[in-house]
Amino acid sequence: MMKKVLNPFRYLPLRQAICWGVVGLILITVFMWQCGLRATSLTQIDFGGGALWNVLVRQLIIWIMFSLVLFVGGVLGSKSKVRFGDVAAFNLFARLPFSLSLLIFAIPSVKTVMGYATDMNMSAMMEHMTTLLFISIATMVFCIWYFFWTYKAFAEATNVKNSRGVAIFFVCFMLSYVASISILKMIV
């Protein structure tokens, strides 16, 4: 059971991965739209708001762009034949922990405190240190989970593992992060 939690990609049929991933994508898109959130990079969000289609397009761009970069990294680094569908499906499923972390904004006090953080209202933030600490710890746990699963998804989909796999994954992640900032800035 623990093995399946740590690395579900060894056991997960592709069809299930894509189904759960799409369900997660749709649900988190609707949630973000409701909360006035939008993605500004691979791992960042803000209270920019926007129409539902805007939030969805941003999510899709992040998913497809990251999958493409990982696919290219896999093709260059793997001795096996790499399929884009495998990389994309597993990458979408691996994003579920990150989507789960955003549900923290359903808590009104969290939304309020993050609003203060966005406005750089330090005095107001200092009054809510406990909430800030909770947000920091919770998001850190989910982020670690997200990075771990994303690496495992990449390793299983491309058969690039160990130090070589970690190095290629790191490079792909950084490239995707920088590219996502630039691309998403172009969307109004």
């Binding site: 990609f9 060894r10 056991y11 299983e156």
Partner: protein, 86 residues
């Protein structure tokens, strides 16, 4: 069932076949033969290859039978191909 040793316990080299023996008529054949390529794989890999043949070469069926994802089964096959090519 007894396990067939493939690696020399003394120097770690690959073992070769020198004697084949018939239990029926006690005929003994001496020579110097390399191990067949498939015999050089680990037991788990040999089992995998047998299951692969029994599944008519369908990785999809293998994945369902083994309870693993398709890419994982394909990666296993690629690793075995890498070993055989050496």
């Amino acid at each position: 069932m007894k396990k067939l040793p493939k690696i020399c316990p003394s120097c770690g080299g690959v073992l070769r076949v020198q004697t084949m023996f018939c239990a029926g008529c006690e005929t003994r054949i001496d020579g110097d033969y390399p191990l067949p390529p498939l015999m050089q794989l680990s037991e788990e890999d040999q089992e995998f290859v047998c299951d692969f043949v029994k599944c008519s070469g369908s990785l999809k069926e293998m994945a369902q039978k083994m309870g693993l994802s398709y890419p994982t089964v394909r990666n296993r096959l690629d690793d075995i191909i890498g070993v055989l090519n050496k």
